[in-house]
């Protein structure tokens, strides 16, 4: 079997394993939950708390609301596609911002020293706090902006995505070995030429894993902001509203969760393609 085939098989097996564990616990676990030393540790296993896996998937075929025309599959897919486009935009813009900041920091030490602490602190601010803040700032500017809740979600995706890219790229730019730098010096090549011909290509192996983190961060930033702001078309909004129906229609919430997971998977695939393109022609041990 090919390496790719084996990987796919492992991916499927992991899902089957988790699904089996879920169903196994549901079958043998206590219906009303359980306590250990007076603490509620064991989860309830009734159909409300833990719907059957097959019920979750079966739910995809039914309409979103009783008597509705579209199946929930179509609704979730559309929402996930909407959030995916927002995440992709956040990923691209965040990566560009991260690379730009890294170049500036590599060029001007003063810039690095001034900016770095703020960059690190910025990542400690919970996004759930930041989302309404950014949105109210936008809404204060104009009515038009007030309607673009998706833009606020994208901005927060950018806010999370740029950081790993900036750090990875900066590290790569600064780890250029002395010998090739001396070589570029012997050609009397200036800083920007050296950046383009040497430092930047040298940073690519550091950039590739940073992009993987940025892809995940963009998805988290966008979907969490969607939940926080209630962005109308996003999958985050579905999770929020389906969650409110969790007691009457438990599998429904899981359809939105699967939608969000699929969005993450597609993003991971996109990042993998970018990674392959960047790392082609590189020594195999570095790729």
């Amino acid at each position: 079997m090919t390496k790719r085939g084996r990987r796919f098989l492992m991916f499927v097996l992991a899902f089957v394993f988790v699904a089996s564990a879920w169903e196994l616990y549901k079958a043998v676990g206590p219906e009303e939950g359980g306590t250990v030393l007076g603490m509620r540790i064991l989860a309830r296993t009734d159909d409300r708390a833990m719907p059957h896996i097959w019920d979750m998937f079966a739910r995809f075929g039914d309409p979103e609301v009783r008597g509705g025309e579209e199946s929930i599959f179509v609704v979730v897919l559309r929402a996930a596609w909407y959030s995916f486009r927002c995440s992709l935009l956040a990923f691209v813009a965040g990566s560009a911002l991260g690379i730009g900041l890294a170049v500036l920091m590599a060029r001007f030490r003063l810039f690095e020293r001034a900016l770095m602490p703020y960059l690190v602190i910025s990542q400690t601010v919970p996004i759930i706090v930041l989302a309404p803040l950014i949105f109210s700032l936008m809404a204060y500017q104009s009515r038009e902006l007030a309607e673009k809740t998706w833009l606020a979600a994208v901005l927060l995706g950018v806010f999370l995505a740029f950081f790993p890219v900036a750090m990875g790229t900066l590290r790569g730019l600064q780890s250029t070995p002395a010998a090739p730098l001396e070589l570029m010096d012997s050609y009397a090549a200036g800083w920007w030429k050296t950046l383009w011909k040497l430092r930047f290509p040298n940073a690519v192996p550091y950039l590739a894993p940073a992009l993987r983190l940025a892809g995940a961060a963009a998805v988290v930033g966008v979907t969490v902001s969607e939940i926080s702001l209630g962005v109308r078309f996003g999958v985050g909004r579905l999770i929020l509203s389906y969650g409110q129906e969790a007691t009457s229609d438990p599998p429904k919430l899981y359809t939105a969760v699967f939608g969000a997971a699929a969005l993450g998977l597609v993003m991971a695939a996109v990042v993998m393609v970018v990674d392959r393109l960047l790392m082609r022609n590189r020594p195999p041990e570095a790729a």
Binding site: S186, A188, P201, N281
Partner: protein
């Protein structure tokens, strides 16, 4: 070009009264080089040899204008070292081949030409010419990491010579190679430089290598770095594997070795204070 007489009679490299002091006036001051005078004629092959810390690599970097002398002047073909660097008048090769792993072999060789603004067709043509010179014409499209260490070093030499510089500066370029590859590379280097009439300044810490390659071996000593001896090799230009077994060759090796031992003895005589 207007005056061909001075052009031909002009020295390739002139080092006058050069001194290089790092961290001047600070407690960690190092007198890397003092009182360096050296004239190198066009087409001449010069080896710089000496124990570590004698400043041989520093001297090479001063000629390359990668470092600036504290005092004194360095002239390359009548220009300042700085102007020579800006004009890319010399090629350079280091112990690490320093090939860019993301560029194919031919694009590595093209790098200096790219920086000079040559168009692509001309670059390709020159790269192919250089690959034939180093006898690796079929590896143009390979990536550097697909080649052995010796082949990588040959590509680095091809890159250093790509713009047909009249001067080649080399810092222990064969230091990381095994003995067999090394001897082979030495012979190749002599063939290539003789064909192009290139002047070479070659830093090494191998005595046989210095003697086999050079017209003159410059012997240096540390603390402070200075030139203590210049050995005329006088083995002629036509050197081959038999040269390595010739009596004259051994005589010169012995001469260089004794010059180096003199440094060691002087060092010991100066005694414990230095340690």
């Amino acid at each position: 070009m207007e005056n061909p007489m001075t052009e031909t009679s002009q020295a390739a490299v002139v080092v006058r009264d050069v001194e290089k002091i790092f961290n001047q006036g600070k407690p960690n001051q190092v007198d890397a080089l003092v009182g360096i005078d050296l004239d190198i004629q066009p087409g001449e092959f010069i080896s710089l040899i000496g124990p570590s810390g004698c400043g041989k690599s520093t001297l090479l970097r001063l000629v390359a204008d990668l470092l600036e002398p504290t005092t004194g002047t360095i002239t390359i073909h009548g220009k300042s070292a700085h102007q020579a660097r800006v004009d890319q008048d010399y090629g350079m090769a280091f112990q690490q081949s320093g090939l860019f792993e993301w560029r194919s072999v031919e694009r590595n060789i093209e790098l200096p030409l790219e920086l000079k603004g040559w168009d692509k067709a001309k670059r390709r043509e020159r790269a192919q010419e250089m690959l034939e010179l180093v006898k690796l014409p079929e590896f143009a499209k390979h990536m550097p990491w697909q080649l052995s260490g010796g082949m990588q070093q040959r590509i680095a030499i091809a890159r250093a010579l790509a713009s047909h510089p009249k001067l080649l500066l080399m810092d222990e370029p064969f230091g990381a190679l095994d003995e067999m590859t090394r001897e082979h590379m030495q012979a190749e280097l002599l063939r290539i430089c003789a064909a192009a009439g290139t002047t070479v300044v070659f830093v090494t810490h191998s005595i046989p290598e210095a003697v086999y390659l050079a017209d003159r071996v410059v012997v240096m000593s540390p603390r402070p770095g200075r030139i203590t001896d210049i050995v005329d090799v006088g083995l002629g230009r036509d050197r081959n594997e038999l040269t390595r077994e010739a009596g004259d060759f051994f005589a010169r090796v012995t001469e260089v070795r004794e010059a180096l031992r003199g440094i060691e003895l002087a060092d010991q005589a100066r005694g414990i204070e230095d340690r």
